[in-house]
Symmetry: C2
């Protein structure tokens, strides 16, 4: 295989490492359409598990799924002034259908606020119809010029939640609740710690009153905006005449929220956990949690070991795990391939646990378990294998979150930093820098221009420093808020 | 509510009944984009359960999910001659992206053979890479002029399986296997019996060697093509240079299959099982299997009944059902709405079972179960409620299939019929007519022109008549095959 040469290391070239590992682990591939990727089964399997977990969380918080058209009449996009300004430049436009030129061009949805709130206006009559809590799993298209597999593609898959409420407070509560769901998912399932907070006006979603975000640190110390939640106020309700009969009489405009995460998360997972031998998938999101590799030297041994491995696989797959369902086990019974080559491939693909079993292990009624995250090996008795595997998977999930959190904290700066040092840091290894901000868009814009760092969020209380910074990182005037600065994807 | 007036009956106007019931049961709605529908939560919930069941069946037969681009370069469509002829006239074309005219227009996929096999050509090197068994859940666009909710829309949701094999036999086996999976799903989950068989050349998929289909009878005696599976031969492999190193040396072109079902199935479900009060969902596909309606006359009674109903709901939801997972139960605790109004709504929406409980029932430690399919009522003890509900749901699932099969058989004709009688039948109430065919495309085309009936399939052996028809329905010459004729959606 041409893939036998070693991966570029993260230290040598993080960006090259990322592309290589995504391609070699067969998560995705380039397509013949500029900027569009193919998500291969290994990558899609992770996305499917992400979808399942998120979907369960959305349903547990009262949301229902629906599906709205891919196409949006061009005029709809123009009904909300900021929205069109934000999205019109990056749209794909259908001008012909069925062999004829269309009277009105159709936009391939870059996001669905306009089409969805036009439907909400039809469905909502009274306060009794509220809250209306809808989610959609869909593809969207944004005409990006510089694309990266998973991180920024012309077309991507995502979910977009859209809700309507009777009051500002209800909408605000919903926007915050869904930010919390995202944060819980990213830490609990992806083992990817995030800082939550509010975006500045410059970074707000086009058409929103407020945008909240989850920001994760990648291993090159850049931030990944991993999910956002918007309080849309009444902007879209007014544009689409989304009114309701209030409980105490009179017609009022509804209050909306929208929130989304995308296949970008798969890229975030790779850049949070990958190492120089491949990706590392947290057990909860791994399509295969444990791979069994039988070891043998002769045909006779092969038969015995395959039989034993098959027995172990069945026992593990049948083993009653309380949570999260049956163990996902795969037996690698390919012949004509050495165990070492198999290890190499499964490590590249990030399977959390490997079970090796050879004739001498079998004699001792044991097997060897190898963790992908730490590459630690240990023998285990076959008698208690189910419990041991389940416990170890739980441990790996926890340890991956702890490791990622420690890494982030090591590369976060909370003490006073001069602007010159800040520039040097951003030019060099990068970091999450918590620093004062005077609140002026000018300081924000200048820093961005000079360092490429942006305010990722004004962090929520739990992420703020014990001692509030008193002066602006840039201008030295009194700070009105603490801001989290970083370069970002 | 404006919806309080009665539904048009099926007998009065089946087509009007269908549109009304889809809208009133809130399965779908018209959108502001011509020919595109919105799938509302009630409809999407059914689709989600269909997806889950089919996806499990695809995985159990060795397929893995992936995702390919929405856009297809126009030149790709032209690489397979029949394919472009079939699909080019009904495409939506993106001519502008990011504010600029594109060098090559992009087609919004009407189906993905071209883009997928171009990727397969990149991934497949050797016979060891085969079979390659891929499925994609996606939206597709076909520029239809006359659209119907679920049945024929510009955009629809579907899955498309795409596979590559080393031999013709392997591909043929796969095409038949997936037809069997569809048929099992339609009968086992949708309670919708189907006739399987092969399409004639006139009705074959554009680019296929052979097309197999599942055909279901709707209550207006028209056929619905519910799912198709294609043996594509080497047509696409040759067009996209999909070759492999054969086991015994030399380069060979791979053999492909593709197969798909779509949101059209939701329309099929409605037209198979709906009655004059609403839709009827087979339990296995019902997002809610049982709805609890508490009955009370005073505030005091209300409190007691809600408490009891809540207890029952929890007990049922916790009850350990072996298969297919937990009971899906909903408590309708809306205040200010009479039980009758609730019954009306849940019957319209097709929930398979209703549990009514009032103060006198509670005293007797019982509740009333009402089947949606037969509207039969019976008291049940609260002590054995879990078992009784589970058994009844199983029964309903079975009975719905039996009823649909009996209905179809009543409207199927297998005895000799003159062409004049056939025309009269197709002009009138319609039917599935099994009759001889001489094999000539002219007879097929003439019958279609004169009666609007088409050959749905040349039925598989198990659906053929005991006595093979000897002459062609149209021309009287010797028959070369038995054909199933019907008008179709």
């Amino acid at each position: 295989m041409a893939d036998d040469k070693k991966l570029t290391t993260r230290a040598a070239d993080f960006s090259a490492w990322y592309n290589e590992v995504v391609l070699r682990a067969a998560l995705a591939d380039y397509s013949p359409v500029r900027g569009c990727m193919v998500i291969r089964p290994n990558g899609y399997g992770i996305w499917e598990r992400m979808q399942r977990a998120l979907d369960d969380m959305f349903k547990a918080t009262g949301h229902r799924n629906a599906y709205f058209p891919l196409f949006i009449p061009e005029s709809f996009l123009h009904k909300e002034a900021q929205h069109v300004e934000g999205f019109a430049p990056e749209t794909a436009v259908v001008t012909h259908g069925g062999g004829k030129k269309l009277e009105e061009p159709l936009i391939v949805r870059p996001t669905s606020e306009t089409i969805i709130y036009s439907m909400f206006a039809k469905w909502v009559q009274s306060y009794r119809d509220l809250p209306l809590l809808i989610n959609q799993w869909a593809n969207v298209v944004r005409w990006e010029m510089r694309t990266r597999l998973f991180l920024r593609t012309l077309e991507f898959l995502w979910q977009e939640g859209h809700t309507a409420h009777a009051t500002y407070d209800d909408a605000e509560e919903e926007a915050r609740r869904m930010l919390g769901v995202y944060s819980d998912f990213m830490e609990g399932w992806m083992a990817m710690p995030v800082v939550t907070g509010q975006k500045t006006d410059a970074e707000r979603f086009a058409g929103a009153l407020r945008t909240y975000s989850c920001e994760a640190m990648m291993q090159d110390n850049k931030a990944l905006q991993a999910g956002t939640s918007h309080n849309l106020g009444q902007n879209f309700a007014k544009a689409f005449d989304l009114k309701f009969q209030a409980e105490h009489g009179g017609q009022e405009y509804a209050w909306n929220t929208s929130w989304g995460v995308s296949t970008r998360l798969v890229g975030g997972l790779v850049m949070t956990h990958g190492d120089d031998v491949g990706i590392r998938i947290p057990p909860l999101l791994a399509p295969i949690e444990l791979v069994i590799v039988p070891i043998y030297r002769s045909d006779d041994e092969r038969e015995r070991m395959l039989e034993a491995a098959d027995r172990i696989m069945r026992a593990l797959a049948d083993w009653e795990r309380r949570d999260p369902g049956r163990l996902r086990v795969h037996l690698d019974d390919r012949d004509g391939m050495k165990p070492g080559a198999k290890y190499y491939e499964w490590e590249l693909q990030g399977v959390p646990l490997r079970l090796e079993i050879g004739p001498r292990d079998l004699e001792k009624n044991q097997a060897i378990l190898v963790r992908r995250d730490t590459r630690e090996k240990r023998p285990v008795s076959l008698n208690t294998l189910g419990e041991d595997v389940a416990d170890l998977l739980t441990r790996i999930q926890e340890d991956m979150l702890i490791a990622a959190r420690e890494r982030r904290e090591e590369h976060s700066m909370r003490h006073r930093i001069s602007y010159d040092d800040f520039r040097a840091l951003m030019d060099g290894e990068g970091a999450f820098v918590y620093a004062g901000w005077c609140g002026s868009p000018e300081c924000e814009a200048q820093i961005k221009e000079e360092t490429k760092a942006t305010i990722r969020v004004l962090p929520d209380e739990e992420f703020r420093s014990a001692e509030t910074p008193s002066t602006c990182l840039k201008c030295g005037r009194p700070a009105t808020a603490e801001a989290l600065w970083a370069k970002a994807y």
